[in-house]
Structures are given as C-alpha cells and as structure tokens.
Symmetry: C2
Subunit: 259 residues, 2 copies
C-alpha cells in the first residue's frame, strides 16, 4: 500500500516543475518499464500489482523502492487515461554533448517542438534510422513529460538528447558543417546529394523554422508532394514528426538498399 | 448568444453516438474552418466571435446558422484544450467507393487504427502524397472524431474515405490486384518494385495487421532500419502514422524526382 505522501510525490511528477525540482520522471506499461529498467537510466522505484511482480523479473542490480499497489492506487498515480499495472520512477539525466559531433555524424536539431507526442515520435523514428544525437531548443517541450516518454516507446534509452540555446550552438559550429532545414523555398530533397554528417533542423509545428535560426541553414530542402490528378491544392504541410521521419529516412535510404 | 439547447447540441457532437444520430460533426480553428467552408462538405452552422466575423468572410452560398459567441460560450462547446475563435458544424458524409479502383490507383486500407490523431495524420500524409482513396476497417476510430478532424488539417476535404468490412472487401477484389502490407517477415521495400496501383494495408498501432487479413497480403514488405554503430537493438517498430507516411513516400518517390 502506498502512503498519501508517496501518492502525492509520484503524481507530482506529472508536472514539469516538480520533475525539475525532484530530478525524477515516470514511465508506465510493461514494455517501456522493462526497457528502461535495463537501460542506463537509474530507477528509483517500481510500483506494480502483485500479479505484475509474479510475471516480471527486476534486474538483479535494482536498488530502488519496490511497492505492491492495487489498481485503485494506480489510478491515483498514473498519467495514462487507462492505467497500466506498473509504473517506474527514474532519475532524469542531462546529457551534454558538443555539437562538433556534427562533423562526423548526423545530428537532429529540434526548433521548438511543442507537442509531447510529436517529440516522442521524433525520438522513436530517429532511433529506427540510427540517429544517435538530438539537440532540442530551450523552448522544446520537456523530454520527461509522461506523454513524451510513453511515445518514445523506449527509444529514449538509445538516443542522446540535450537542450541548448540554438543560436549559441550554431555560433560555435565549425563553418564547414552542413546545416539542412526544411523550408518552403528549399530544393526538392530528392534532387540533392545528402551528406552523412551535419545537422538537420526540424521546425515548430505551426511556424516551421524560427526566423532567428534560418540564417544558419546552409542547405534548404523540402519534401516533395505528389498530385496524380488535377485536384487543386493538396495538403499545405506535413505534421512535424512525419516530416522528420521522412527526412531521416531519405538521409539513410541509399545505405539501406540491400541489393 | 447561444441558447442552452444549442450549447448542449454542439457539445454533444464530441461523442460518436451523437454524431451518428445527428449526422453532424465539428471543426475548429480558422484555417480548418475556412478550408471546410470551401469544400464539398455541407456546413450547418458557424459559431464565432464578433472579431472573427469581422476578419473572415463566409462563402456567398453559406446557408447555415450564424451565431456570434463569446469566448466564454466557446469554452462550453469546444473540443480543444484551448478554444479557437470559431467553430463550424457540418453534415457527415458517407463515401462509398468500389475497391476495384485499386486496379488503377493506389488505395490505403487501415486495419483498425485506434488513435484519432494517428488517423488524422495518416489522412494528411496521404493527401500530401496524392493518395485519393482510403478504406477503413469497421473498428477503425471514427473519422469525425474532433481530434481526427483537427489533425487532418483540412485534408479530409480532398481524400475519399469509406468504412468497410475488410474481409468482405478483399473477397470481392479481382485476384490480380497487388496487396502490400508491412509485416516483420516481409521484404525490405527498397529491394522491391512498387506498383502504381493496388492496395497498401496499414496495421493497428499495437498488433500490426490482423491475422484474418494477412492471408490477403500478396506482397509483404518492411521499412528497413539503420544502425550505424554496434548499439544492440534499436526501436522495435515505428508509430503507425510514421510507417504509413514513409510507405506512401516510397511508393511515390521515383515519380517525385524532378531531374
């Protein structure tokens, strides 16, 4: 059984301010919980039904708190609409990496992604296509938001993510680094040679790439659309996480053809 | 000012059962509202602030109800977290089309997509890549769910969408129609020749393509992943709307290279 204080503590982690104060976040659902238990994140507590503990084994080096909770209690701590039988609390981590890694690898830069589900989906697709580094602008939604964590489906354990002031970062960059950005006045990305290293900037859901960031884009690209018929118009844009995935795919595509 | 009954009526359209009973749905936000006002959907009412009416012009053939509402009233009828200054009610439409269109065009088939945001995002990407026909299984989330409508960003006006029993539909198909489906034991789609006509099946978010539908798949494909380093594992799967967009992109890619 959980104490009132413990319920209050865990439920408080739904809020960004409390996550920052306590340096903790939550993850729910067996698949995600097991993946994060076996990652480099430090788990501080596991809260699950007795049935869950019977069917799942904790790693031997697990040193956090272990509590059997009822589904009634779970409803009071969950951030999900329908609670899962297990909830993990973990320490947040601040990854710091030097943007000069863009000299040798592809780095995603997120310019104010606001929707937690989009951020999680971007991280998951980045992981699928082997992108190991993401830099988020300071106004990007919190990585440790429960909705972001859930939608990464565990990919958060395999991608390095740091928050930085983007202008400061761009100023520090070596002038030879290619900076790709999806912009309306860009070139069809299928007509360009895409590099194996550099930066790819993904803009905000409503306004795209910020005015202050545009001067740093060396290679403007766009994702072509297709109109097989005479219908006037068509979608004006793609969802940010969709655009990100298609760009990541295209940058890796030539390397993924097996024959 | 809105009557209590009118507020109740509009708010009831947040629920599927009421939408079906009344044959109406809602759309919010200036961009989406203007796009649907100028589409083949029949608008039954527009509810907006006086400022909105000053700045936006209704089509001359608009015959629905027009009401000036305060932001306070808007809060009682909106399905959004933060209400927009305008809300449109429209008549639902049941599109019916013969699946034999797959003999000459690419048709998307959605096998139990459950998340309204995913459904909307799939429709938006389909529109971008010129897919004009989507068949949803009967268990797919309701097209007229406010979250679906919002995330189509207006693409719902340009894509024909019908709900059908998928097994019945597959049985009716001419045996020569190619049926592509993303499955774990499929072929890397980059190693296959992709046709200009046929069906592409997108599976449910958690279980992929149903057991009952798999026998109808003639061409199993998968989206390759990429691992530049020795990191064990990687994401196990992609979000359904991401997978859909990448597959749509790949089917159109050769036609979109401009040089």
């Amino acid at each position: 059984m959980l104490s009132k204080n413990k319920i209050k503590h865990i439920a408080s982690l739904h809020q960004k301010k409390q996550r920052e104060l306590r340096g903790e976040f939550i993850a729910e659902g067996t698949k995600l919980v097991m993946e994060l238990l076996n990652s480099h994140f430090e788990a501080t507590g596991i809260y699950a039904t007795s049935e869950w503990f019977e069917n799942n084994r904790l790693p031997i080096n697990f040193t956090g708190e272990k509590s059997i909770v009822s589904m009634n209690e779970m409803e009071r701590i969950t951030a999900l609409y329908t609670p899962s039988p297990c909830l993990l609390t973990l320490k947040t981590r601040n990854v710091v990496f030097n943007a000069s890694i863009a000299n040798s690898a592809l780095v995603l830069v997120l310019d104010d992604i606001k929707d937690p589900g989009n951020l999680g989906t971007i991280i998951r697709a980045a992981d699928w296509f082997g992108f190991r580094h993401i830099v988020c602008s300071e106004q990007t939604v919190d990585l440790f938001n429960p909705k972001t964590i859930q939608s990464t489906m565990g990919s958060i354990a395999r991608v390095n993510i740091c928050y930085r002031n983007l202008e400061t970062m761009f100023k520090e960059l070596d002038g030879t680094v290619k900076v790709y950005g999806a912009l309306l006045d860009g070139t069809n990305m299928l007509d360009k040679e895409l590099s194996d290293a550099g930066i790819i900037v993904i803009g905000n859901e409503s306004r795209g790439i910020s005015e202050t960031i545009r001067p740093y884009i060396s290679d403007k690209i766009f994702i072509p659309s297709f109109h097989p018929d005479d219908l006037s118009g068509g979608a004006e844009s793609l969802n940010a996480s969709i655009a990100n995935a298609i760009i990541c795919y295209e940058f890796r595509r030539n390397r993924m053809i097996s024959k």
